[in-house]
Symmetry: C2
Subunit: 141 residues, 2 copies
DNA sequence: GTCACTGCAAAGTGTTTGCATCGCG
DNA sequence: CGCGATGCAAACACTTTGCAGTGAC
């Protein structure tokens, strides 16, 4: 999806298309992958735009509720956000330096889990798969 | 492992066996599964023991570092802790009521991922697999 | 013009830290 | 009795909330 398409989507679901929302979406498009609210704040500032954390959080929450953004609680009490549906992937995360490496395999799809979970009367919407350990560099130190 | 064995393990790795540590371990043994620091605090209080959050956090951190306890960052900025190695399982989590249901299947083991990840020069130590959605009751509401 | 949204400040929640005292080994 | 552990208070980091003013439609 392009920026304009995201903008249109927002209006379609009855949200006002404010300058701040455009900037947040632009920043997420221009910087693929997951970012903390802090990182998004910095990226917004780099575009010479002033914005408060509350605006960022409120909009990330809104975008998450509308499935435009995905919220990941990967590391100790810090949420990461990324545009949803652009690509589906999981992570290998270094316990020492915090580096996150994407992996393409998805055990959920490969093992046909969706049907199994539905048979438990559970309606799955999304899933998370993460492997922790030490990356190449950190394991050598 | 029994309580006494956990106590011994602590001494073996050079930690003092304080009353507070015994209580935390006892509480974790008596209440299998994952708990927040808050829940552990309440469980400790129910045993008529007074303990500060700092003591709980410091010890959970210590036990986590020594792989006696596993720390899970599952939900929005709240860590959950549980005794490690008692049983290996993953979770199905309801987005509405927060209920966590254990599932026994492990995609990591079933797909022989350990070797694949090692071939990336990454040393895996643990992993997390979670499926989010709506549980039976919440999806009916 | 209306109402959703933002700026700003202040509070809230979960967690960590500093320091004096305590108690395990 | 020495040093690691705890009690307690205070700080911290991330996030949410309340309210008045602003701007999209």
């Amino acid at each position: 999806m392009t920026g304009t398409e995201f903008y249109k989507h927002l209006k379609d679901i009855g949200c006002k298309l404010t300058e701040q929302r455009k900037i947040i979406i632009d920043v997420l498009i221009e910087n693929p992958g997951h970012h903390t609210a802090e990182e998004i704040f910095t990226l917004v500032k780099n575009k010479n735009s002033k914005m408060y954390f509350s605006t960022i959080y409120r909009n990330l929450e809104l975008l998450t509720n509308h499935k435009i953004v995905e919220k990941l609680s990967i590391v100790d009490g810090v949420n990461h956000y990324e545009l949803n549906g652009l690509d589906h992937h999981h992570h290998v995360i270094c316990n020492k330096c915090g580096q996150m490496i994407q992996i393409d395999m998805c055990p959920y799809i490969e093992n046909h889990l969706a049907e199994k979970i539905k048979s438990m009367n559970f309606r799955p919407t999304n899933h998370k798969f993460e492997i922790y350990g030490l990356c190449d560099r950190c394991s050598k130190e």
